[in-house]
Amino acid sequence: MATATQTRTGVVALQEERRQPQSMTRIVVRRFFKHRMAVIGVFLLALVVLYVTVGAAFYSEAYANKTNVRDKFEPPGAEYPFGTDSVGRDVLSRTIYGGQISLAIGVTAMLISISVGTLIGLVAGYFGGVVDALLMRLVEAILTIPLLILLLLLSRALMEISSSTTVVLGREISVTVVVIVVIIGLTAWTSLARIVRSMVLSLKEQEFVVAARAMGAGSSRIIFGHILPNCIAPILVAATLEVGVAIVVESALSFLGFGVMPPTATWGNILNGARQSIDDLWWLWVAPGALIMMTVLAINFIGDGLRDAFDPRSIR
C-alpha cells in the first residue's frame, strides 16, 4: 500500500509502507482465524476430537462392544451415563469408539473422493475432446441417481461379502467400514471434478502454462506442477465439506441398516437402535445425534471460513 505525503517543498513523496511480504498460506491462515464462525468451528471440532480420543482412555473398546442382554434398554443412570442399547451395550463408550470410526470414515472417504475428483477434473479439463466428453457424461450419469439411493443400492450389492471383520491399523473392524468408505469415496467426487475441470479450462490458456509448454514441459509436469497448485483453494474447501457430507451419509446409511454393521460402532448405527421404538428410546439418538450435528456444523463453519479466506475478492 502506498501513502502519499505532502512535503514542505511541495514534492509528493511516495513512501512504500514497510510490510513483510506475505505468502499465500500466511494470508489465508490469518484471514481464516479472523473469521468468527470458522474459529467457533475449529473449537467445536477440537471438542469432538478430544471427546473421542481422551474418552478412549476411560473405556476399552472391548467394553464398548461387550453385550449384556440383562441390561438391555437401560435408560441413562449411574452405571450407564448414556444408557444401553438393544443388547445391553454401553452407549457412552460406543459414542466414543463409534466417533473414532465415524470421523475416520469421513476423512478416508474424503481422501478417496477428493483424489478421484481432482484427477478426473484435471484430465477432463486438460485433455478435452473425447476424454472430456466421456468423463463428463459419466459425472452426469452418476448425478442422475440421487446419492443416497445410489449408495443404498451399492451397499446392498456389496454387502454379501461383508459379514466378517478385518484388521486395520491394529484394530479389528467390520469389513462394512471399508465397503462404506469405498462407495462413498467413489460416488461423491462429481461436483469437485466439475469445479476442477472448469478451473483447468481457464488456467490452461494462461501465459504461465503456455510458457511452461514452450519450454518443453510435459503434460504431467504442467498438470501437477503448474495447474494443480492453482486449483488448491476449491479443492481444500471441497475436502473440508466432503468430510461432513461423508459423516452424514454414513450415519444415514447405518441408520437405515445399510451401513456399518455391529459390533463395530459408528454414530449412525447407534442411532439405528432408536428405530426399533422411536417412542421411548431417546437416549439412543440424543448423544450420537448431537455429536453428528456438532461435527457437521463445525465442518460447515470451517469450510465457510476457508472459502472466505481463499476468496481473492475479499483480500484485506
Partner: protein, 347 residues
C-alpha cells in the same frame, strides 16, 4: 427454440444409455436374482434351470443386456435338463423389455413391478408436493424477510437457525420432531401427532386422520429445504434489489410493496425455477429416510423394503425410472428457464 429443445433432447440420449448400463451392471453385481428359490423345497432342479433360461441368466452379458432392454419375445433357448448332453427342452422368451415398460415381476408382491410402483407412487406424490409447496412458500417468506432486513438481529437469527437446520441430518430432525410433537405433547396432555403410517390403524380413513399423519413427515421434509432455499432466495433478492431498475422503480414513486413484490420478486424468482425443476424428481424418489421413519407407504419406503428383501426387479425399475425422471426434468427446467428469461440464448 425448437432447435434448442431438440439439441438438448439429443444430448440426453447418451446419458440415459450410460445410466441404463450402470444400473444393469449394478443389478448383475447384486447377485443371483433367483437365489431365493434355493430355500424352496418344492422347486426342483429342472424348474430352476427352466426359470434361469426364461430370464436368460446364463446368456452372455451383452445379450442379457440387449434382451433386458428390448425384450426377448420369441428368442428360443435349448436346455439340457437331464444332463445327458443333448438338449431336451426349449424355453421361449416372453419378456417385452424395459423399453416397452416391462420391468418384470416383483418377487415379493408377485405382480408386475410397474403395478407395484403405481401403488406406492401416489402416496409419495401427496407427501412430496405438499412438502414442496410448504417449502416454497416458507422459503420465499423467510428469504424475502431476511433480505429486506439484511444484517439486523432478525436476519442474524434466521441465518444461524438456517445453518443449524442445514447441518442437521434429516433423520435427526425427524427424531427431534417426534420427541417434541408426539411423545412430549402426549405427556403434557396436549393433542399429540401420530408417527406411523397414513391412517389410524383402527380404521379411521378420514381426511382429518390423513392430514394429522402428514404433519410430521411434511415438517421434516420441508424444514431442511426451507433452510437452504431461504438462503438462496435471500441472496438473489439482495442482488435484485440493489440493481438499477429497482432504483428506477422507486424513484418513479411506486410504493415499496409494489417495488419489492412486483418488480423484485418477479426477477428474483427466476433461479427458483431451476431449484424447483431440479428438485421435482427427488420428490419421486421419496424421502427414503423420512418415509422409513414415519412408515409412510411411499416410494422411499418401498425402495428400502425392496432392498431388504432383495426384490431386484423392483429396485432396478425404481432407480432407472428415477434417473430418467431426473434427465427429463433437467431438460424441462432448461427449456422453461430459456423461455422465461429472454436473456438466455439458445445457440
Amino acid at each position: 427454440m425448437g432447435k434448442y429443445i431438440i439439441q438438448r433432447a439429443l444430448q440426453a440420449i447418451p446419458l440415459v444409455l450410460i445410466v441404463t448400463v450402470l444400473v444393469f451392471s449394478l443389478m448383475k453385481i447384486s447377485g443371483d436374482p433367483l437365489a431365493y428359490l434355493a430355500q424352496d423345497p418344492r422347486v426342483t432342479e429342472r424348474d430352476r434351470l427352466v426359470l434361469r433360461a426364461k430370464y436368460g441368466l446364463d446368456d452372455p452379458l451383452v445379450l442379457q443386456f440387449v434382451h433386458w432392454v428390448f425384450g426377448d419375445e420369441g428368442y428360443v433357448r435349448s436346455l439340457d435338463t437331464d444332463q445327458n448332453g443333448e438338449p431336451d427342452t426349449t424355453v421361449v422368451g416372453e419378456r417385452r423389455g424395459i423399453i416397452r415398460g416391462d420391468f418384470g415381476d416383483s418377487i415379493r408382491f408377485r405382480k408386475p413391478v410397474t403395478d407395484v410402483i403405481g401403488q406406492f407412487l401416489p402416496n409419495t406424490l401427496l407427501l412430496g408436493t405438499t412438502a414442496l409447496t410448504v417449502t416454497i412458500i416458507m422459503a420465499l417468506v423467510i428469504g424475502i424477510f431476511a433480505a429486506l432486513r439484511q444484517y439486523t438481529l432478525a436476519d442474524n437469527i434466521i441465518t444461524t437457525g438456517a445453518f443449524i437446520t442445514y447441518s442437521m441430518p434429516s433423520f435427526l430432525l425427524a427424531l427431534v420432531l417426534v420427541q417434541i410433537f408426539s411423545i412430549q405433547f402426549r405427556r403434557w396432555g396436549l393433542p399429540s401427532l401420530p408417527v406411523s403410517g397414513m391412517y389410524d390403524p383402527r380404521g379411521d380413513n378420514s381426511v382429518d386422520e390423513l392430514i394429522r399423519h402428514m404433519i410430521l413427515p411434511v415438517l421434516t421434509l420441508s424444514l431442511i429445504n426451507i433452510a437452504g432455499w431461504s438462503r438462496y432466495i435471500r441472496s438473489t433478492m439482495l442482488e435484485v434489489i440493489s440493481s438499477d431498475y429497482i432504483r428506477t422503480a422507486r424513484s418513479k414513486g411506486i410504493s415499496e410493496r409494489r417495488v419489492i413484490f412486483l418488480h423484485g420478486l418477479k426477477n428474483a424468482s427466476l433461479p427458483l425455477v431451476t431449484l424447483i425443476g431440479l428438485n421435482l424428481p427427488f420428490i419421486l424418489s421419496g424421502a427414503v429416510i423420512t418415509e422409513t421413519i414415519f412408515s409412510w407407504p411411499g416410494m422411499g419406503y418401498m425402495y428400502i423394503n425392496a432392498l431388504e428383501q432383495f426384490d431386484a426387479q423392483l429396485v432396478v425399475a425404481f432407480v432407472l425410472m428415477l434417473a430418467v425422471a431426473v434427465v427429463v426434468f433437467q431438460l424441462l427446467t432448461d427449456v422453461v428457464y430459456a423461455w422465461l428469461d429472454p436473456r438466455i440464448r439458445y445457440d
